[in-house]
Symmetry: C2
Subunit: 532 residues, 2 copies
């Protein structure tokens, strides 16, 4: 969709007739490039004014486009197949632990957290940074793995587990963090496929909100290892590169006190929307997260601890992470704030980027070369257009990326199929696999990478068939139905503690943190009958 | 596919231009019927010879076609929705047992087994017959539920469970039968999508054979209830109405000693193929099943018991059931033999039907009106063409159905969507649901039907959304992958007793039957290294 729109745009610029492409798999790149060279009208009055700029622009667009969709040579996988004994590899891998002992990084956490913009840490990738990136990526992945996607479920759009059990249920018990707060979001603009629950579900836990992420904080052991108390916000994104990105590209709107900094209206709507008539968004996601982060920062600072804030997210979640970082930097000056995002789209304009930088927010964007989402919005109108100012005029409406980039390539991994797969290229598990195997741009896949390769296929079909891992295998037994004592297949009731509640204050976790969660003032007016 | 072919055929007969239909969902029936009336050429030399027959044929085809694809009125489901309180229905159903106490039918088993051709038992449907039909249908369903569909599995195409545990694993422990033998089949003709295992699986349990069904026998308790020792053969079919039915319609070939009886070559190939180089088909499915049935009949007759043979199957399995019945009747004269089939295609010609009848085989075909498979092969060239003998000439090549028919209608159930759904209409669970609810052609769905409604959606999307049952919910947790002690997602090894073995002789079951299974003579030459 995005690609065909892009193709049409390109043709319109050239005033060449649009060719109806049979599909993204077989875009006739050579034909298009040949077309450009011959078909750019030199004397056409309508285009004369900007013909030079247009020509250069078209060339650049074609180049950009080529980058998006080039696929590896056909014999790519065969080559690997010849040198890899898949069966023995599988056997060997199956009995290798996925984790190594964790290094102590307390003496270099500032650098790993981006204090120098990750200079000299990305290529080659510093082993300690690699592990930290994967750690934060797994926080983002947790927001997918625990999400209730069942559109017939009364809890569709919520987290399937209580926050005190989230990491345990996902096999992340030993990650050294504890969840302190769930974040919910709604939106004041209509976003297709964002609220997927069926209209038939009248007893829904919420009609307007989705579970959008969580706040967690390092425990004492992890805090000693990493040299500071680390507060993490993890934002949920979208699993597949869906069309609603297009819908969200409506307009940039101002953010903060500056008149110049602008961000995408759709992202901002999710981050800031609230409504007194809802159960979970009497306060906005922004208010929820800032209240919790402020509380935690205050609590640990009062104890004399060094504190950092790390915000992570994939896709849409990466966009929300930047908005969150912007607000946190303005609200909590002096706090070291980093964003580690995966496959995130552009969020705002150049002034937004500059203000983030001035406030000291450090951003590391992990981007897979073949993934299209991190090129959106602003697939065409982005920072690369600065040289075309005869066309673009002002840069106020030009989207731009922020911070340092760790660029990954699907072709670097011998375990991945190279064929065009928009969902697979965008999948967070593909990102984490590629981070785990990345040494440097000039060397091959890390031979001693330990992350379980099978995870890549959880929600896509990216692994070479030789590995014999089913595609999209992450699924519940019988889609959650169980056979009851009468022999009937029913959806079991959730454990009461796993039922979302806007007034939840779970004592397990807060006991261990010596914190008492405060009820949300807005929510304390809730009718008792509403609390289920 | 079949439908569009059918549409083209109809048009060719009328010599009217073919209209490219947008899809099976919106076949322009009225237009077609209108077309016929005006477009039949009266004077065209090419068609004059058979114009009268062709016209009548076209009319008949249109009528047939109309029967296939007519959908219920648009407000069908809405009407039901207005009178059904889905939530309270769901609550109530969830706590109602799915089984009633079984009646003793020992005094009327001959009639229920078809001794009088099920006369006066089908409309209204006798309650005891209804339960027996469902019982046999669940044997057929078991062949789907236990089949290993995983194309990456080394056991793809086998049964996932040992025969002594089959019913237990599927929640059918109390059905009163015990499995004594598994049947394997291969084919000497190429049947697309029949052997689905990946070419990458070099360690496959078998390269040529599929698990194709089982033989089971009633235990003492059930034998007393039903009045005889009941030997059952259950044949596996295909879950969806796949295109390979078309491929199998190659030619009729002779069967048995008669020169006239003919059956479809493809079905016969599956039933009779064998090869000494295979592991599981050194003997054919026919030889395997006849050896076991003969053994069981002899064993129980020697004990002075009354014995019956009931053969069941859905889809392709129903076709194999008829071939099996034909052979059994010829081999074991005097044995009461019934076939109860579900959505089975036509198998042979009229002589085949007549011979089956003469040998005393009783056949009850359960057919859903909207299902297309039971109209194949011979969707057009079948017994309804007897009146068009100026066109068809001889009837030797005309497919025909056999026996009595229990006709069901998707629209009779308020729980089912009416919209065109070829997979759903053909699904065996849909059939069993409709049998369970059938009273008579003139009355509505049985209000006290107890079979669990959720089962319908196991492998399709037929239930109205109001029931909030996920579609295609019958699935393994994580497609069978489990996280091992190293944190890696792997396919666990099968329990040794669940690994298929051509020489299997399980003592559990045979102890309880006081039978010692004899090793297959062919298989006893197997190299020890082959037995895994």
């Amino acid at each position: 969709m995005a690609l065909s729109t892009a193709m049409n745009m390109m043709y319109n610029i050239n005033h060449a007739p649009a060719i109806h492409s049979a599909g993204v798999n077989c875009l006739p790149l050579q034909t298009i490039q040949g077309h450009q060279k011959t078909a750019v009208p030199v004397d056409c009055p309508q285009t004369k004014k900007s013909s030079k700029g247009a020509s250069r622009l078209a060339e650049s667009l074609s180049h950009l486009l080529h980058l998006h969709i080039d696929t590896p040579p056909r014999n790519h996988n065969n080559e690997h197949a010849q040198i890899i004994n898949w069966n023995s590899l599988t056997e060997e891998k199956h009995s290798t632990p996925t984790k190594s002992p964790k290094e102590i990084i307390s003496h270099k956490w500032h650098e790993l957290h981006g204090s120098k913009g990750w200079e000299n840490l990305l290529d080659p990738l510093h082993p300690c940074l690699r592990r930290e990136i994967v750690k934060y990526g797994e926080f983002a992945q947790a927001t997918y793995d625990a999400f209730d996607y069942d559109s017939f479920s009364e809890y569709c759009g919520s987290c399937r587990f209580n926050k005190s059990k989230l990491f345990e249920k996902l096999g992340l018990s030993n990650n050294g963090y504890q969840v302190t707060k769930y974040i919910y979001a709604m939106s004041h603009i209509e976003i297709p496929s964002w609220l997927e629950r069926s209209h038939l579900v009248h007893d829904s836990w919420s009609k307007h909100s989705n579970w959008m992420g969580f706040v967690c904080v390092s425990d004492d052991h992890e805090t000693r290892r990493i040299g500071r108390r680390d507060i993490v916000v993890s934002w949920r994104g979208t699993v597949s590169p869906s069309e609603w990105y297009e819908d969200m590209q409506r307009k940039l709107e101002p953010i903060g006190s500056s008149a110049e900094a602008k961000v995408e209206h759709g992202f901002q709507s999710i981050y800031t929307s609230k409504s007194p008539s809802t159960r979970y968004n009497k306060s906005s996601a922004s208010e929820q997260v800032m209240k919790e982060v402020t509380r935690l920062v205050q609590f640990y600072k009062d104890k004399g601890e060094e504190v950092s804030l790390t915000i992570t997210g994939h896709s849409l979640g990466g966009a929300l992470a930047l908005l969150n970082a912007y607000e946190a930097a303005a609200t909590l000056p002096g706090l070291p704030i980093s964003v580690i995002s995966f496959g995130a789209p552009r969020v705002g304009n150049i002034a937004f980027r500059d203000e983030l930088h001035q406030m000291g927010v450090r951003t590391l964007r992990v981007a897979v070369k073949q993934d299209i989402v991190h090129r959106m919005p602003g697939l065409f109108f982005n920072e690369s257009l600065q040289k075309f100012d005869d066309i673009t005029g002002t840069l106020e409406w030009v989207y731009t990326h922020v911070g340092a980039e760790l660029k990954l390539d699907v072709r670097s991994s011998p375990y991945l199929k190279g064929s065009l797969n928009l969902t697979g290229f965008h999948s967070l598990e593909t990102y984490l696999h590629l981070v785990d195997g990345f040494l440097s741009t000039s060397t091959g896949f890390r031979s001693n990478a330990r992350r379980d390769i099978a995870l890549v296929n959880k929600a896509c079909d990216m692994l070479v068939d030789e590995l014999r891992i089913p595609h999209c295998w992450y699924q519940l037994s019988n889609k959650g139905l169980v056979c009851n004592e009468h022999g009937r297949w029913v959806k079991p009731k959730r454990d009461p503690e796993d039922i979302p509640s806007p007034t939840a204050h779970d004592h397990h976790i807060h006991h261990s943190l010596h914190l008492i969660d405060q009820l949300d003032d807005n929510n304390s007016q809730l009718q008792p009958s509403y609390v289920f």
